[in-house]
Symmetry: C2
Subunit: 340 residues, 2 copies
């Protein structure tokens, strides 16, 4: 981060966010959980979706896109699979509740799923992957979004940059993949633009339809490059359709008609691998895969070999010890909100 | 295809393959199904994994990597989720059986899953997506492979180019995504090399560690580009771990130790969306998503906007009418095998 930052203890950061949310109408318990998830996201180094996103979350509360007291409700059930309605409640609390329910379904049926409609942005998707893995479950979840990615062969946004999360429990730190459908997020491109830097790899199309590393060009055309080009575009459509169909909620097309990203649809899937009697996970098998990738000769560039979640764990430990970095101006404004 | 091809009726093609498989020890019923899946794959235009792959399949039978009479056996069950052992039987028959079982579990529990170990290459992964969608199910399946993709930041193969399949039923033709983890398959790169063509986009690294469009360079370094670079590499690891952990079978690392790709691990997941009473799929919702992507202004290049499965359907119809294209030399050698 290039702007001036201060390091705040995790406890102080969470408490500050919690007090603000209570002033916005959250119950103490729900304010505490939501604040913890925001603070953990920043602590884990996912700065774009943690405290930096908190002001926009407050704005959505003020505009009534998000109802602070709404809780998700079960709509229908078919054994291992349930449909829930998020009632436009806070996205991170809704997602947390539905992943908890998914874990319970997996305990009961071996695997379980919840499809959630009428919810809001879940902030960091990886949160619910860590949640599932902490509970001894393989967790898969995904959300749809407002249209912000063109289909392959098109130049207007018709797909969502839908994050896909896959988490696998591991004693020494879970494997948690949290990947959106574009190579670079809008947040990452915005940061690069502000710093006057080119992207490390071509990340989208310029006005002439050519691939470019210039983030300002891509932010203008709104044509970020899907992962695997036509493949990521196809995966985005598949995730959107599954989320909308299973929840009977809005698809990306429908969210686009709202003009603002709310009332999104999500899916949570878990497999219980905590029980040695059934599908218990062999830690040695996971470790051998990680040892195997780390045994490759380095490619020789700047990139090191990491498994998904490995960098997160390092950043978490550093920020836990040294304090969570928060932009000074943001921190000051948060403190102002507490005392207002 | 550049080599001389003949168009064979689907029926004649299937019958020819079936007769060869019966001579190799397949029961008539199993020979018929396996032959149908090979023939359908070529009919659908996935030439690399259809009849073109049949000689290598026969070779694996001769080398006893594949046991023609072995059938998958259930190992353990936990409600909606089951573990099966493929007994090193033919990969396409094993996968078909396990997707059938997954569909049955989804009918019973809303969603269901089967993890399969000790199986063999399933040929076209999309086959089992079409199978699930034909049964009114959303289907997800994936397989691991021998190491043939480097981890991001590394230059030696440590990951599998694990295909991921997602299928969503649709009245006018299913949405079936069938995507490996590299931008271009080894098969596609080999074809481009033979034709002396550059790849449309950078598809891997050359000897100097630079991205290149030259397929012969990538075939030499064995460094194809994962979809979304570090993202596809992470997704590959996650799919491999899920397949190996849930089946208690071999991971990519373990398959690598065998030296030849057999005894792979796979996962099949279905959600039953055929029943209006429960999670019935609203066709209008699916159609609106397809209409939405097709409504984008074209990007202006050679690429048209397709949903996953759209091109397959066109090719299928064309090949069904005109006959399935098979390389003349291959067709002659297959006929020889029948009469030998």
């Amino acid at each position: 981060m290039t702007t001036e930052t201060v390091r705040i203890s995790f406890h102080q950061l969470q408490e500050t966010l919690q007090r603000i949310l209570q002033k916005k109408g959250f119950s103490p318990e729900r304010a505490g959980l939501s604040a913890r998830l925001f603070a953990e996201t920043t602590r884990d180094g996912i700065y774009s979706h943690g405290v930096n996103r908190f002001p926009r979350f407050l704005e959505y509360l003020d505009k009534a896109y998000v109802d602070p007291s709404a809780e998700p409700q079960p709509v229908s059930s078919m054994g291992a699979l349930e449909r829930w309605d998020g009632q436009q409640g806070p996205g991170n609390l809704n997602a947390w509740t539905c992943m908890e329910r998914t874990i319970a379904l997996a305990r009961q049926h071996g695997m379980g799923g919840v499809a959630l409609r009428n919810t809001n942005h879940w902030m960091r998707g990886g949160t619910y992957g860590w949640q599932a893995a902490d509970a001894g479950c393989i967790g898969i979840c995904f959300t749809n979004t407002i249209p912000n990615l063109p289909p392959w062969g098109g130049k207007e946004p018709r797909l969502g940059n839908n994050p896909l999360v896959i988490a696998i429990p591991r004693d020494g730190g879970h494997i948690v993949l949290d990947t959106a459908m574009s190579l670079y997020s809008y947040g990452k491109m915005e940061v690069a633009r502000q710093e006057g830097k080119l992207l490390p790899y071509e990340g989208g199309f310029d006005n002439g339809g050519n691939l470019t590393r210039d983030p300002s060009e891509i932010l203008k055309t709104e044509r970020p490059l899907p992962i695997g080009y036509w493949k990521g575009a196809g995966l985005s459509l598949a995730l959107d359709l599954m989320a909308a169909v299973l929840s009977e909620g809005l698809g990306t097309a429908g969210i686009g008609e709202l003009g603002t990203e709310y009332r999104v649809s999500q899916v949570f899937i878990c497999v219980d691998v905590s029980s040695p009697a059934h599908f218990g996970l062999r830690q040695s098998l996971v470790q051998s895969a990680l040892d195997f990738i780390h045994s490759s000769a380095p490619a020789g560039g700047d990139e090191k070999i990491f498994y998904p979640g490995e960098k997160t764990l390092r950043t978490r430990q550093e920020n836990q010890t040294q304090g969570v970095p928060v932009e000074l101006k943001l921190w000051q404004s948060l403190q102002q909100l507490v005392t207002d």
